[in-house]
């Protein structure tokens, strides 16, 4: 067994923490949740030498240890509690050399908690371009801790970090803030209440406990009052004194080349990218480009996936003997799974765009130009990141809303984010849009599919804004609303980081969605294949006699198809569909769609899998590719002999899927993020009502 040390990776947002984490651990990491929370915990492993490996915990980026938002609280929670299993032996602090002063504030706070710290100075090249250099030995001497210069983006200096992590003689505990200027009696009392030996850690915990953590708040506030201690005033004093120490260290080690006032790329780019007209034009064009790309770039890989599944199906069907197992695998599992995996290329493309825009620093600018637009709707510029990532998946987006400091703005963002069309709706839209317009249709140089898809995404965005405006009237406000954010320098994306992110998200989609879909497909197959004993037997007997009678006008294949259609109608699934049909008839849905609505409650993309299963169970056993499902659905007639999937019905389905809350994972994440059942219930009710009413209107207009 190797020796293991626990290292926490800390730093400001935009300091290159993710790059360093990836450079140290590569794919050797896992993402899980902190016990009892939904807070994402990224832990990776890095071999330091043959005997020792480091367990590296990636902490969310924060500016100080007085958390202002939910994500900053996570970092604080890990560093404050020495009894925690994840409490680090050492903190690896990464700082942006081009903006060293502000970065070091957090470092001095972390060190004062009593953990040894080593400093990795990142983005030295960026500082050099501004004409700034640091003498590392002077900086190390002034700060009293080891300092290395690295370039996390191209993995420079990783070896130096590994050696420092191994060399215990260099792990030093230092203090920067003199806690003795605070009344000793107060410190003793606080130490007793919080049960912490380190007086700074105790006082800091007490200040945060009064605001963020509920236990002991009364006792603590009583002690503060008794000694006439004003926590806010203390924090202000503390920060200013820390900056004084930092100022000295920075001034002594910093070398500035003069005559270095050239305008940098970021300044030049921002003149255009945040321009009052071009800024908006570029943002909208970029979105448009993304949707075009999702369709045109994914065509080839999607064909490959489709071919793969067709081959798999054929192989299973041939190699397994006829019977229930063969039927279950081909018509249940594979049919459901292929209906969803086929969309992996589109989802990867969408995630890639979002990750790149975030990585180059453009997402922050989107927040900046959109803040004024979001404000009347009770949100702020930071809400745009959850909303845009909501186009990929609402679950991580709702977690991303943690960076919004104001509780009301955050809650509204959480409530409306699922209205943004997520990637799970993409399969549904693709199938339905394909039934409306032929695939090759062009509108000038543009693919009509892409245009309609963009319209669906816009519809989701407008609905999100409108709902937010309504919630703004009802949600009570707490605290002041700020919008303050760093606008990081533009950087080229780090392709290694992108690949790791895509691998993480892609496998999470396949594993997460795959599990649900296989389960739902199997259950659905069973419900669609079996039914009340008597009625199923009656159908079997009826077709048995029909096949015997020699004067059959139908071929045996047609007969088989009709038989399975009747069996489906008589099955348990059919019975359920029939049961809710009266409720969904006004919006143009029949009982088969009713079954799909039910199964979509687990996740929207299950719609396509369900349709595949239903039409595969109901029809013959030919290929399961998307086109054949589309054709089978289009061939479906209603009782009057008109196509069942009329324009009105397809549009109604699209609108329903755009608005309805059909995602258990989102509801559960909302429950844990808001710490109450109230908001997920509110969300479920309002979204479903919105979906039903809108579908009703759309169906009646077009039919």
């Amino acid at each position: 067994m190797k020796q293991e040390i626990t290292v926490a990776l800390a730093g400001n947002p935009n300091s290159g923490k993710t790059s360093l984490f990836n450079a140290l651990t590569g794919l050797n990491h896992k993402v899980s949740n902190f016990p009892g929370t939904t807070v994402e915990k990224k832990i990776g492993y890095c071999n330091l030498n043959a005997e020792t490996r480091a367990q590296i915990i990636d902490l969310p980026g924060t500016y100080s240890l007085y958390p202002k938002s939910a994500d900053e609280l996570v970092t604080y929670d890990i560093l404050r509690n020495k009894a925690e299993t994840n409490f680090p032996d050492l903190v690896l602090f990464i700082a942006d050399a081009s903006n060293l002063k502000r970065n070091l504030l957090l470092l001095t706070q972390v060190a004062d908690l009593g953990v040894p710290v080593i400093l990795a100075l990142n983005m030295v090249d960026l500082a050099e371009r501004k004409g700034v250099f640091y003498e590392l030995d002077i900086l190390a001497k002034e700060l009293g801790i080891p300092v290395v210069s690295i370039n996390a983006r191209n993995k420079e200096g990783i070896l130096k970090i590994k050696n420092l992590l191994l060399d215990e003689s260099k792990h030093k505990k230092v203090t920067y803030f003199n806690i003795n200027q605070v009344d000793q009696n107060l410190l003793n009392e606080i130490g007793e209440i919080t049960d912490k030996k380190n007086p700074y850690a105790a006082l800091q915990y007490a200040i945060n406990a009064g605001v963020y953590l509920n236990n002991k708040a009364k006792q603590i506030n009583a002690a503060f009052e008794k000694y006439n201690f004003n926590p806010k005033q203390f924090q202000e004093l503390e920060i200013l004194q820390r900056y004084k120490v930092i100022d000295d260290a920075v001034r002594l080690s910093r070398r500035q080349k003069t005559n270095h006032v050239i305008k940098n790329i970021t300044q030049k780019a921002d003149v255009i990218l945040t321009h009052r007209i071009w800024g908006l034009v570029i943002f909208l064009s970029l979105l448009f480009f993304v949707f075009q790309a999702i369709f045109s770039w994914s065509a080839y890989p999607m064909d490959l996936v489709e071919m793969g599944f067709a081959w798999l199906n054929a192989t299973i069907e041939k190699s397994l003997p006829d019977g229930v197992l063969n039927d279950l695998l081909v018509h249940g599992v594979v049919a459901g799974l292929s209906g969803v995996i086929i969309f992996l290329p589109q989802i990867i493309i969408l995630f890639a765009f979002i990750a790149v825009l975030e990585d180059v620093g453009y997402m922050a600018r989107v927040g900046f130009i959109m803040d004024r637009i979001m404000r009347p709707f009770g949100m702020n510029g930071k809400s745009i990141v959850p909303l845009i990532s909501g186009m990929a998946c609402a679950v991580p987006s709702i977690m991303a809303s943690r960076s919004i400091e104001n509780k009301k703005e955050r809650l509204i963002t959480i409530l409306v984010t699922p209205l943004m069309s997520c990637s799970a709706r993409l399969p549904v839209y693709t199938l339905l849009i394909g039934m409306l317009v032929p695939e090759t249709a062009k509108w000038g140089p543009f693919n009509v599919h892409g245009v309609v898809l963009m319209a669906m995404y816009l519809l989701g965005f407008i609905a999100a804004l409108a709902s937010a405006a309504v919630f703004k009237l009802f949600v009570k406000s707490k605290g002041t609303a700020y919008f303050m954010m760093e606008l990081p320098s533009y950087k080229l994306p780090v392709w290694n980081n992108l690949l790791i992110t895509l691998y993480e998200k892609g496998s999470a989609f396949v594993v997460g969605a795959g599990k649900i879909i296989v389960a739902v497909s199997v259950i659905l197959w069973a419900f669609a294949s079996f039914g009340p004993r008597g009625s199923m037997r009656a159908i079997d007997e009826k077709y048995a006699t029909l096949a015997m009678s020699a004067d059959a006008t139908m071929s045996s294949e047609e007969l088989a198809a009709q038989k399975s259609a009747e069996r489906l109608q008589a099955s348990y699934a059919g019975e359920f569909g029939k049961w809710i049909e009266p409720a969904i008839k006004p919006i143009g849905f029949d009982w088969k769609m009713g079954i799909a609505l039910l199964t979509s409650l687990a996740a929207r993309e299950v719609f396509v899998g369900t349709m595949s299963t239903i039409y595969s169970v109901g029809g013959g056993a030919e290929g399961e590719d998307l086109n054949s499902i589309k054709h089978k659905m289009l061939a479906e007639k209603n009782e009057k002999g008109e196509p069942l999937y009329s324009v009105a019905t397809i549009l109604s389905l699209m609108v329903f899927y755009a608005f309805a809350m059909q995602c258990m994972s989102t509801l559960s994440i909302v429950k844990s993020e808001t710490q109450s059942w109230k908001w997920p219930i509110v969300q479920f009710v309002y979204m479903t009502a919105l979906a039903y009413v809108s579908s009703l209107i759309v169906f009646n207009i077009f039919s």
């Binding site: 502000r102 200013l240 970021t266 009052r276 800024g279 803040d371 004024r372």
Partner: protein, 73 residues
């Protein structure tokens, strides 16, 4: 003068921040008395604004910039 009144191509020094809550947040982000500020961009609808603070760039709303006293150099 207030930060919200700063014009392009003017360099100013922060004098004070009004309001305890706001000043804590701004100090942590490196905007503190003595620091140099410069207006860099104005968002499409006139608000918020992007400024250079010391060595980096941040944005804030005009209503918050209104609480920051500055002196043009």
């Amino acid at each position: 003068m207030k930060l919200s009144e700063l014009k392009f191509n003017q360099i100013a020094t922060v004098i004070a921040v009004q309001g305890q809550e706001l000043s804590l947040k701004l100090f942590e982000m490196g905007l503190l008395p003595g620091e140099e500020v410069e207006l860099e961009n104005i968002a499409p609808f006139g608000d918020p604004i992007a400024i250079r603070v010391g060595e980096y760039k941040m944005c804030l709303r005009l209503s918050d910039a209104d609480c920051i006293d500055i002196k043009v150099k």
